[in-house]
């Protein structure tokens, strides 16, 4: 499939290169390993492929049929129709990395706009062209901080209320740096409070990393923590939910150094976990310390404004073994989706979606708090995720709700055995009042099973 050569053309070409048949092209392959039989199914036609994949997709229970109150790092937000239609344009999705800027201004300007929107959303001065996802962006922030101090500050203080997958990813990345020391306090309750976490920052600390709102939904003021950390000479990084920033104070207001996060909520479908979008913003002084592509503005010979990849001397293809990171891709198409999303929603839309999420979540929380047997655990201000304590095991309750077409919140016991019977519920603008009321009914019903 997709090979245009006709028999006639093949013969002409073979003649030009002096070969009799195609197999002669592979004489350099050791004979005993040449032309293996691959035990995979024979080719399907396009029609058959579509049918088979349709059957597979049909075997899923997706969130278009089910009601979803699950978040914990990936979110069910509405993706406006215009986003996907624009992504369908072949000039966007079949284009390559913009190494030849003269014929890639579309991609370059879109990334430049992405950088600008993320910078302004987070309140920081600059942003890069993106990382693979929020977890790797967090890992890269830690790496940047570690190398900024040339390994002289081997300690990284990480909030226990970071998304557990981010913590795991950072552990994997830092497993390679023997001299580094990751400090993640065991006492999650006590160290939820960033001010307490700041007590662990000393002159050996390169970075302290927290999440805002945190994994359990809590919002904390980060100003005091940031001041304390800076007094010790350490850098501060914050992982954020970009939708929350439609309403909440941007982390830049607290004086932080790096803002990272998962951009999936910005017009990217959940798609069973990927591809997603990591974003990374920082202060101008630190721009050379961060990894990832960056697009800058310039002019051509006639003075016409244009865009190019810049600061490439930091990157792998030039610096090679001295590069700050090995990253080669950015999430081009996903960054484009987010740029279109943020442009479409704009100032008022981003605020509107944030408020819808906030109010719906708070309504749900208040109502659940009134249910017999259930307790609202979250004490801090929260955005659209909160924790409830259930009278039974979360998996049992979720099983009941699933039978009625509702996907319940995240079972926190899965990531922390101390959080027994605790569920993290997420509400977005996609959840109607009827759905929230259904959730309440099913939570109540689940007690009687």
């Amino acid at each position: 499939m997709f090979i245009p050569h006709t028999d006639v053309e093949r013969q002409e070409m073979l003649k030009i290169i002096g070969k009799k048949d195609l197999s002669e092209l592979f004489n350099v392959i050791p004979e005993e390993f040449r032309f293996p039989d691959l035990d995979i199914p024979h080719a399907l036609s396009e029609m058959e492929a579509q049918q088979q994949f349709s059957n597979l997709a049909g075997a899923n229970n997706a969130c278009d049929e089910m009601t979803c109150f699950l978040g914990a790092g990936a979110y069910n937000h509405y993706v406006p129709a215009a986003v996907d239609f624009l992504l369908h344009r072949g000039d966007f999705f079949t284009a390559y990395t913009p190494y030849q800027p003269e014929i890639s201004q579309g991609t370059l300007q879109a990334i430049f706009e992405f950088q600008s929107l993320i910078a302004n959303l987070t309140g920081m001065e600059i942003a890069n062209a993106s990382h693979y996802d929020g977890a790797t962006a967090a890992a890269e922030a830690c790496i940047s901080a570690y190398h900024h101090f040339r390994g002289k500050r081997p300690k990284l203080v990480l909030s226990p209320n970071l998304n557990p997958q981010y913590l795991e990813t950072i552990h994997t990345y830092f497993g390679m740096l023997d001299e580094s020391k990751l400090v993640v306090p065991e006492d999650q309750m006590a160290f939820s409070d960033p001010n307490k976490l700041a007590d662990l920052v000393d002159s050996e600390t390169a970075l302290v990393l927290v999440q805002y709102p945190d994994f359990l939904g809590n919002i904390y003021d980060l100003a005091a923590m940031t001041t304390k950390a800076h007094e010790q000479g350490a850098l501060v990084a914050v992982s954020v939910n970009p939708i929350a920033l439609g309403l909440l104070k941007p982390p830049a207001d607290f004086g932080v150094d790096f803002v990272i996060g998962e951009g999936q909520p910005l017009g990217i479908p959940m798609s069973f976990g990927g591809p997603y979008l990591g974003f990374f913003a920082t202060r101008k002084e630190l721009v050379r310390k961060i990894s990832g592509r960056i697009v800058g503005e310039t002019v051509d010979g006639t003075g016409k404004r244009g865009y190019v990849l810049t600061l490439t001397a930091r990157e792998q293809h030039i610096r090679r073994d001295k590069a700050t990171s090995n990253i080669c891709t950015n999430q081009g198409l996903m960054a484009l989706a987010a740029t279109i999303y943020m442009s479409l929603l704009g100032k008022s839309g981003m605020r509107e979606v944030a408020e819808l999420c906030y109010h719906k979540a708070h309504y749900a929380a208040q109502q659940i708090a009134g249910l017999k047997g259930y307790k609202l655990v979250t004490q801090q201000p929260f955005f659209n995720e909160f924790v409830i304590e259930c009278p039974k095991n979360v998996s049992v309750i979720n099983q009941h709700m699933l039978e009625h077409g509702l996907i319940g919140g995240f079972d926190l016991e899965k990531v922390n055995p101390k959080l027994k019977n605790q569920m993290l519920i997420t509400v977005t603008e996609m959840n109607s009042r009827e759905e929230i009321d259904l959730l309440l009914d099913l939570l109540e019903e689940a007690l009687h099973d």
């Binding site: 499939m1 997709f2 050569h5 053309e9 070409m13 070969k19 691959l38 199914p41 080719a43 396009e46 579509q50 994949f53 349709s54 597979l56 997709a57 899923n60 997706a62 699950l70 790092g73 344009r89 999705f93 079949t94 284009a95 390559y96 990395t97 003269e102 014929i103 201004q105 579309g106 300007q109 430049f112 977890a135 790797t136 997958q165 990813t169 740096l177 920033l245 909440l248 798609s271 069973f272 976990g273 990927g274 591809p275 721009v287 310039t298 865009y307 030039i318 073994d321 990171s325 090995n326 891709t329 081009g332 996903m334 442009s343 704009g346 839309g349 981003m350 309504y363 996907i407 109607s432």
Partner: protein
């Protein structure tokens, strides 16, 4: 025409999309945490659609023309991939949903794991890495974990051929290894004698791209692998050039221990203007336990009444998680769609025609350009973009001039071991017609280089914008189109 930025198009009060009214009683907002300003643009839906449509029209793409970028495998991106990836059953699924509700997606991932194993000749596969470089990192971490599990702590050296992609030494350093250069011989193979000298008990492994970035299959690959294995090292295969080997040979059979695969190169998933990619890693049996966590497996075997239950399994000595969730599912679906439409015969035809196309072009161009390695190539080949009798003309000029002929230039200045390199990879989806047009343009440019070099120096002339001032970009560092202070 300069396309304004979204901020320049903005008009206060404009709205691009409206949402339903709040259907629950509002709660009090947290005053202490409310932001004062939200400096985002205000555009209508038409503004947005028009703006991004204009931007797309400034781009060159595979849909628009030939893209012979060496080692990038710019093959056609089938539309059916876009259909299957967007099926709502796949798209609207949360990664943490109960596994009973996502069996369809798990089967897709399992099938791709199994198929990639069969195609590459390895025992186990992870689909978690987000891109090739990410896969390389996984490979390096597995190498490290393997040696350490055997108490072998002093293996810190990784050998990297001088023709290697920049990610290879960058990844090695990142993983805590010391990359050491291995030179190539005059035929473009790894220099066997120099390799032997470098193989000692501090050797963690060799990172080998085969065919290499010169487009050449190493004539001593079995010996190279054997030397490394005898010294106790592992052989990591950079799978960027796998397109030449589909159905032709399997790296696992040749003796490679680990390999990363680029779904966005070999398996037709779109490049997206720089991503997303997907970089699955395949390993030999002795390394399967170290794969990232989680991979997809069968939790319960099929019975007479029920199909198997698919779920996530945790490799017992896993290097850990390397990103959130389980991998780029949207890219995985596309790659599986492609493979299922190729079948074993189709995959072999892909390699055969990719290699045929490259050799054909090489034969036609070697009279006009210096060909540093004159032997049968695989799916790509390298020319020198410089002539001793065309003073002042460099590969960059040839590249820029090609744009005037409506084509994307080949990869420039890589690999580093060829002077003024032009790395050309046609791929199998390009017809003889297209190749002939490209060859014709290259021949014309070679002539121009000697007779009218100014045409090259001032190129491109026919593109939306001319050569850009990269020095100014790096010095002025304007990285944002609008700041609230403005």
């Amino acid at each position: 025409m300069t396309e304004p930025t979204v901020y320049e198009l903005s008009s206060p009060g404009r709205v691009g999309i409206e949402y339903a009214h709040l259907d629950v009683p509002p709660s009090e907002l947290p005053d202490a945490f409310l932001r004062e300003e939200l400096p985002l643009p205000e555009l209508s839906e038409l503004d947005v659609v028009r703006h991004f449509t204009h931007l797309s029209q400034l781009n060159y793409s595979i849909d628009g023309g030939f893209y012979p970028l060496g080692s990038c495998t710019m093959k056609y991106n089938p539309r059916i991939n876009e259909v299957t990836a967007r099926m709502p059953g796949f798209l609207k699924v949360h990664p943490l949903q109960p596994i009973e509700t996502v069996q369809g997606s798990l089967v897709v991932m399992y099938l791709l794991q199994e198929t990639l194993k069969e195609i590459t000749g390895f025992s186990a596969v992870t689909l978690q890495p987000a891109a090739g470089a990410h896969g390389e990192l996984v490979g390096s971490l597995i190498m490290r974990a393997y040696h350490r599990s055997r108490g072998d702590m002093k293996r810190t050296k990784v050998l990297v051929p001088d023709s290697a992609h920049g990610t290879n030494p960058a990844t090695s350093s990142m993983a805590g290894f010391t990359p050491v250069n291995v030179p190539s011989d005059a035929r473009g193979n790894v220099d066997i004698e120099k390799l032997r000298e470098l193989c000692d008990d501090t050797l963690a492994g060799l990172m080998l791209t085969n065919p290499n970035t010169l487009g050449l299959f190493d004539e001593h690959v079995l010996e190279v692998i054997d030397i490394v294995h005898k010294a106790g090292g592992l052989v990591y295969g950079d799978g960027a050039n796998l397109n030449a080997l589909l159905g032709v040979t399997r790296p696992g059979d040749l003796g490679f221990d680990i390999m990363h695969i680029n779904l966005h190169k070999t398996f037709s998933t779109p490049h997206g203007g720089g991503g997303p990619g997907s970089g699955p890693v395949a390993v030999a049996a002795h390394l399967a336990d170290f794969l990232p966590d989680p991979i997809v497996g069968i939790l319960e075997e099929a019975t007479d009444e029920l199909p198997p239950l698919y779920g996530f399994v945790h490799p017992p000595q896993s290097i850990g998680r390397i990103k959130s969730f389980h991998g780029h599912f949207g890219i995985i679906v596309r790659a599986l769609t492609y493979i299922m439409m190729q079948g074993p015969e189709g995959l072999r035809a892909v390699a055969e025609h990719a290699v045929l196309n490259a050799n054909y072009m090489m034969e036609l161009l070697k009279q006009d350009y210096t060909l540093p390695y004159d032997r049968d190539c695989m799916h790509e080949f390298v020319l020198e973009g410089v002539w001793p009798d065309a003073e002042g003309v460099h590969a960059l000029d040839v590249a820029k001039r090609l744009m005037d002929y409506g084509m994307h230039p080949p990869t420039n200045y890589f690999p580093l071991i060829v002077n003024e390199a032009l790395m050309i990879e046609p791929t199998e989806t390009e017809s003889k017609q297209t190749l002939d047009i490209f060859v014709d343009a290259m021949k014309k440019i070679a002539k121009e280089a000697h007779e009218q070099p100014e045409l090259l120096h001032e190129a491109p002339h026919n593109t939306p914008i001319g050569r850009l001032d990269e020095v100014k970009a790096a010095k002025d560092l304007v990285l944002c189109c609008w700041r609230p202070e403005e």
